[in-house]
């Protein structure tokens, strides 16, 4: 491609940029010789080229590097130095709120435990009361039955008395017969009375014995039997009372030397109080320290 008045500028620019081959350069030089106008044009374009200037970078020393100063450890050794932070296991009681909750829970359990111990005596007392109530009910039944028996016996006494009166009349006539006839109504009295008593208290061996022992063949013996029945207290009531008297003394809460039992642990009252005092003092101190830190 030849230089002409259309493309000369591109050639000139490439010429001043030193991007033309030796032949192309010669061509350009011939072209400008032919017309001085183009020579001026090339001169103007040549003025756009900056003259190389010298600027020194002063801090070269900062850029220098020396291998011996670049001492580095082998990769395997570096790997030995690696440390991985162990994951932090968050404890159950690390949280302040959890601590206070667990403290409250512990106090609650302590109170419940103490309450349970104090309630145990009350429970037994209640049981005794309940047993006594049951016994009283049974006793009331006995008394009712006794009343019935007494009434029956009174009626029989009346009959005996009447019979005796009748017999006394007869006795005047035949004394030998009189003994037999007196014996008769007495036997007649004892026969219906004994089964009645036994049938009423057959569940209680004591009553049975009592009735059996009392030879109710006279009016006096019958009265004794009735009074014995009236004053009878069932054995279950006796046993419950005895048990309560033996095992469960009332706890004197005013006694400073009392011993508190929690499950199988024996805790001295004073020591427990001292322990709780220390714990509360410790908690208070921690709290004040935290407040100071804040």
């Amino acid at each position: 491609m030849k230089i002409n008045n259309q493309n000369y500028e591109t050639y000139f620019l490439s010429y001043i940029d030193n991007e033309l081959s030796a032949d192309e350069k010669k061509e350009v030089e011939l072209f400008i010789k032919e017309d001085s106008k183009y020579a001026t044009e090339l001169a103007i374009l040549s003025n756009t080229v900056l003259e190389p200037i010298s600027i020194e970078y002063e801090d070269k020393a900062l850029l220098y590097r020396y291998e011996e100063l670049e001492a580095s450890l082998p990769k395997t050794f570096k790997q030995n130095l690696y440390r991985r932070e162990a994951p932090i296991v968050k404890g159950f009681f690390t949280n302040t709120r959890m601590r206070s909750i667990s403290a409250v829970a512990a106090i609650f359990l302590l109170l419940v435990g103490y309450k349970f111990i104090s309630n145990k005596t009350e429970l037994i007392n209640n049981t005794i009361v309940a047993t006594n109530q049951g016994a009283r009910e049974s006793l009331a039944k006995v008394q009712v039955s006794n009343t019935f028996a007494t009434n029956t016996l009174n009626a029989k006494k009346l009959n005996i008395f009447t019979n005796s009166n009748n017999l006394s009349g007869r006795l005047v006539n035949t004394s030998s017969k009189a003994e037999v006839t007196i014996a008769m109504p007495t036997n007649a009295l004892s026969e219906p009375t004994l089964p009645l008593a036994t049938s009423l208290y057959q569940q209680d061996q004591h009553i049975k014995d009592l009735v059996a022992l009392s030879d109710i063949n006279t009016i006096e013996n019958a009265d004794k039997a009735v009074s014995a029945l009236a004053s009878y207290e069932p054995s279950s009531v006796k046993e419950a009372k005895a048990e309560a008297a033996e095992d469960f003394d009332n706890i004197n809460t005013d006694n400073p030397d009392r011993v508190v039992y929690i499950a199988n642990l024996e805790i001295d009252g004073d020591k427990l109080r001292g322990f709780t005092r220390r714990v509360s003092a410790l908690l208070k101190r921690n709290k004040t320290e935290k407040e100071k830190e804040k």
């Binding site: 500028e9 591109t10 620019l13 490439s14 001043i16 940029d17 030193n18 991007e19 103007i44 374009l45 003025n47 756009t48 080229v49 900056l50 003259e51 190389p52 200037i53 010298s54 600027i55 020194e56 970078y57 801090d59 070269k60 900062l62 850029l63 220098y64 590097r65 020396y66 291998e67 670049e70």
Partner: protein
């Protein structure tokens, strides 16, 4: 590349890289930082960079750093700034024409300015400039020719003004 080779590169190329940058951004301290970064990267990659491409590698890194710097700081290189640098370094040409040319170059955009500086100061070919600036050879040619024509127009205008 040994440390000796690297230090030779420092001696041979640091001035050119610094001149290219300081003429572009007109700020000496920033230019020094960019040069330092460029040589730091060369040291890190000294085993990867081929010895014959060290110079263009340094200019490429420095040019990219400069573009980042211009984008970040958005510093407009004013005429005063440029002139100040020239005065400080006392390499200014005595000719009035050169003064006018420096002022005209300062009015070019960073790409055109870089093209002119790389061509005139460093004597790089279109191809090499393209590698440094991430442009094709034909792009470099077109852009550089356009920059030259702008400079020519400015020179004629400023000469008329001064005359």
């Amino acid at each position: 590349m040994t440390d000796q080779d690297f230090n030779n590169c420092v001696d041979n190329y640091s001035d050119g890289v610094y001149r290219f940058i300081v003429k572009n951004i007109g700020h000496e301290a920033d230019a020094q930082d960019i040069v330092q970064t460029a040589f730091e990267k060369l040291w890190i990659n000294r085993l990867k960079v081929e010895p014959e491409k060290v110079k263009s590698y340094l200019f490429t890194v420095a040019y990219n750093q400069m573009i980042d710097h211009i984008r970040k700081d958005k510093k407009d290189i004013t005429t005063d700034n440029f002139e100040e640098v020239n005065k400080q370094t006392s390499y200014q040409s005595s000719s009035e024409l050169k003064q006018i040319l420096l002022r005209a170059i300062n009015e070019l955009n960073p790409t055109q300015k870089s093209l002119v500086l790389l061509k005139d100061y460093e004597g790089y070919s279109y191809q090499e400039i393209g590698e440094i600036m991430g442009l094709s050879e034909s792009q470099v040619k077109v852009y550089l020719h356009r920059a030259r024509l702008i400079l020519k127009g400015k020179l004629i205008h400023l000469e008329k003004m001064s005359a």
